[in-house]
């Protein structure tokens, strides 16, 4: 089995248009949740989200690209550019033939669906643009990324709701660890902040109208976000040979299915994913210093997650720092695990724990050190990143400092 490291990272989300801005926002506990701006927002009862307001697509893409790139694809390509540039890799020959792209997205081109349904149903148009299908499909971002960087290896999209990007990164990790390819590009992207995208979530009655306050007793639901994060996963020796800048090591992962309920989370399913991930990484529970929580800010998730962590870590749970950065960038659904991996990188590389902002009141059912409101300096050797999706599908990654 090969060891796997991260040699490139890129992102765009509501708290940063690149990795350094995002890391700074984590350090400052900056909130990217604001009033949503798009057509018909006044017909929604939920009017806030982690929307990227200062992004101008036509400054990055030409007209023909824009006719093919849904916003989720645009965000993917922006993040990928940063990650691949940082890695210093150029893909040709055998490396290009083996390197692929595994991305996570829950909804794919949601605003393309939305715009075109609006055109045919509301406006009564009988004709849509010929590229609607290639624009909205869930693999569009992975395919465009593969075309842009000449990546010809295994390329596909994983769609497991809120765990999509963790499942995707776990797949990419396996491909590098098992020596199928020395490099894989991976991560996730989501952009469903449009009328239909938010209206659908509104229906579930799990959304907050004012803020995302994970683990706080007065939490009242989740807040949607949008964004992408892309990483270059590389085999350790391959990275060393070319003198690459190694950000951290990906140590192990596990996936599990609750097999219980389509929306309610299960403590057992979450706990199995966490403990199996630690086992896969061949590390002890005492070695884990930081958990990037799924921490959605819903009543159900947060207490179930804390309870699962307490079960797996026992007494050590009291010594672990656990925070949810969804309080800052919102829930980026299929891209959320990827953006949140940056908080693990911040902890391991820079020794800074991103806070859970908006925290106001202690919840006895979430009695862990959730790093409230302010970032904290701490030495961390090992971090894990949780993602527990609707449908009961869980994926946990283990990362180590280098």
């Amino acid at each position: 089995m090969k060891r796997v490291v991260i040699t490139g990272a890129g992102t765009i989300n509501s708290i940063g248009q690149n990795v350094s801005q995002t890391i700074n926002s984590f350090k400052e506990g900056r909130c990217g949740i604001s009033d949503l701006k798009f057509k018909d927002v006044e017909r929604l009862s939920i009017k806030i989200g982690g929307q990227i307001h200062d992004f101008e697509p036509d400054k990055h893409f030409n007209r023909q690209q824009l006719s093919l790139y849904d916003r989720y694809t645009q965000l993917t390509l922006i993040a990928a550019n940063e990650a691949i540039e940082q890695s210093g890799l150029i893909f040709n020959g055998q490396l290009a033939a083996s390197t692929g792209v595994v991305l996570g997205t829950a909804g794919g081109g949601v605003s393309t669906w939305d715009d075109n349904y609006r055109a045919v149903y509301e406006e009564g148009k009988n004709r849509v643009h010929p590229f609607v299908v290639p624009k909205l499909m869930n693999n569009a971002a992975a395919s465009h990324l593969s075309m842009k960087y000449n990546l010809k290896g295994p390329t596909f999209t994983v769609s497991t709701a809120c765990a999509s990007s963790n499942h995707a990164m776990a797949q990419a990790f396996q491909i590098v660890r098992s020596a199928q390819s020395p490099v894989m590009v991976t991560g996730g992207s989501e952009s469903m902040l449009c009328f239909g995208g938010v209206k659908a979530w509104e229906g579930l009655r799990v959304m907050s109208k004012d803020a995302c306050r994970p683990f706080s007793l007065n939490r009242n639901g989740m807040v949607q976000g949008e964004g992408a994060a892309i990483f270059v996963f590389e085999e350790l020796e391959h990275a060393k040979r070319r003198g690459a800048n190694i950000i951290c090591e990906v140590k192990g992962f596990a996936m599990s299915s609750d097999a219980v309920d389509i929306v309610n989370p299960s403590k057992q399913g979450a706990a199995r994913a966490i403990s199996n991930a630690l086992q896969d990484a061949q590390v002890n529970v005492e070695d884990v210093g930081y958990i990037n929580a799924h921490g959605t800010g819903t009543a159900a998730n947060d207490k179930t997650e804390c309870s699962a962590v307490a079960d797996v870590f026992g007494h050590h749970a009291d010594k672990i720092m656990i925070s949810s950065t969804k309080s800052m960038h919102g829930h980026i659904i299929g891209g959320t695990g990827a953006v949140e991996l940056l908080a693990c990188i911040l902890a391991l590389r820079d020794g800074i724990i991103a806070p859970t902002i908006g925290y106001e009141e202690q919840d006895p059912e979430c009695a862990l050190d959730i790093v409230p409101n302010e970032a904290r300096e701490a030495k961390v050797e090992l971090a894990i990143s949780n993602a527990f999706a609707f449908g009961g599908l869980n994926a946990v990654l283990v990362l180590q400092k280098v």
Binding site: R63, Q64, S67, R127, H129, P130, F131
Partner: protein
């Protein structure tokens, strides 16, 4: 705007060239418009003139709409406007 100027504008836009570089004799292929560009051009023509252009990308040469040059496209549009108005 007359039909010919509008068609030239649509085709130039697709080929990313100046309208002055498109003539009656220009072919879409000659201007570097590929199959995706072709369906996008047909969409733009349908939108601009509010007509339905009979075209199946699986059988591009069997279309009753003659796409061989700018002149034939303009002529085809004139006919469709008459038929469909």
């Amino acid at each position: 705007m007359d039909i010919r100027s509008k068609v030239i504008e649509i085709i130039a836009d697709q080929a990313i060239i100046e309208t002055s570089d498109v003539s009656d004799e220009s072919t879409l292929e000659g201007l570097g418009i590929d199959s995706l560009g072709l369906v996008e051009s047909i969409f733009a023509i349908e939108e601009a003139f509010d007509i339905q252009v009979p075209f199946n990308a699986n059988q591009p040469n069997e279309s009753p709409f003659d796409l061989s040059s700018v002149a034939t496209i303009v002529q085809g549009i004139e006919e469709l406007i008459q038929e469909q108005s």
